[in-house]
Symmetry: C2
Subunit: 178 residues, 2 copies
Amino acid sequence: MLKLAILGFLYDRPLHGYELRRHLSALTGHVRPISDGTLYPAIKRLETAGLLVRETEPGTAAAPRHTLHLTEAGRTALRDRLREPEPLDISDENRWFTLLAFLRHLADPAAQAAVLRRRLAFLAEPASFFYEGERPLGAEEFADPFRRGLLLVARATSEAELGWLHATLAELGEPAAE
Amino acid sequence: MLKLAILGFLYDRPLHGYELRRHLSALTGHVRPISDGTLYPAIKRLETAGLLVRETEPGTAAAPRHTLHLTEAGRTALRDRLREPEPLDISDENRWFTLLAFLRHLADPAAQAAVLRRRLAFLAEPASFFYEGERPLGAEEFADPFRRGLLLVARATSEAELGWLHATLAELGEPAAE
DNA sequence: CGACCATACCTCGACGCCGAGGTATAGCGG
DNA sequence: CCGCTATACCTCGGCGTCGAGGTATGGTCG
């Protein structure tokens, strides 16, 4: 997820580590703040993999800033990742949101629509949180207000997203089902 | 999160590993399937910490089943965790949902309400995903349909949950603000 | 002028998670 | 009786994340 977000932000324009950190914490920071000890090794991994290059800017600020540029391989890696996301990118809301934040970089509307359809298929799967044997339990069946709330909120989210998905697929000139 | 879920399920009644796995995958499995390599070490950690005991049941099934029982320390640990959740339990939706699933084990309505109020405070914080300098960007300001959707869905979820939180706090006989 | 904070980068050990692999029995269909 | 699947448990290496720590400069305030 971090890799995806780094590539996504750098796709727009080069940034140095600290700027990147601020962008990242705006995107996912209220949910899960990312720490230096996570970010810098991640940058280094991407550098080693040849997806970005660091250019030292001996300059304005205190420490020598390293401006991070995506390489052509990095740009391709982002587009590939967006075009064919891992299952977890589709199912985990945090990762899906990260993916959505950069999906516009996949220039082809048909490819974008294909990704949205995968999320649609995932949301359409019947999935409850609790079962009695085989039978899924609905929100109404709980006396427990907390489990009821859990199911209620999940359902509301799911409905809002389904509505948006259908509207956006139509907007892209793509049918919801293939 | 796994620790919380294991303690939560075992609080209701003893289970053996395999049953536990099925409960866990119903609760969080559609989002992030949990693997054996995660579950069994987690059980062992809880055992080492004295929060649960394993009782071998030489019996019915194929392999000797270990029925897992919470100890008194385990029951206390769950209640403590529920009473004073970590920040991530409040902010991360996956973890928050897990917490909600077991919040009823905190018998005291005032303590339950205090936890709900923490979530309320978190949701009330103004938090956007994207900024232009200092200014948060609203959904309407994006031409990009994906970022617009991201903000729209996040807002819908947030509103549904706020509604439920207020209703449930009232139901518990507790004001939304202290 | 010293205290303090923001900027900017980096390292390290600990720890949890994952996937891939392994072991073994029970039950079913062919 | 063989192969298959479900049940049930476990280990291991690899990897990503985290928190705590360190280093250094520039700007602001009293």
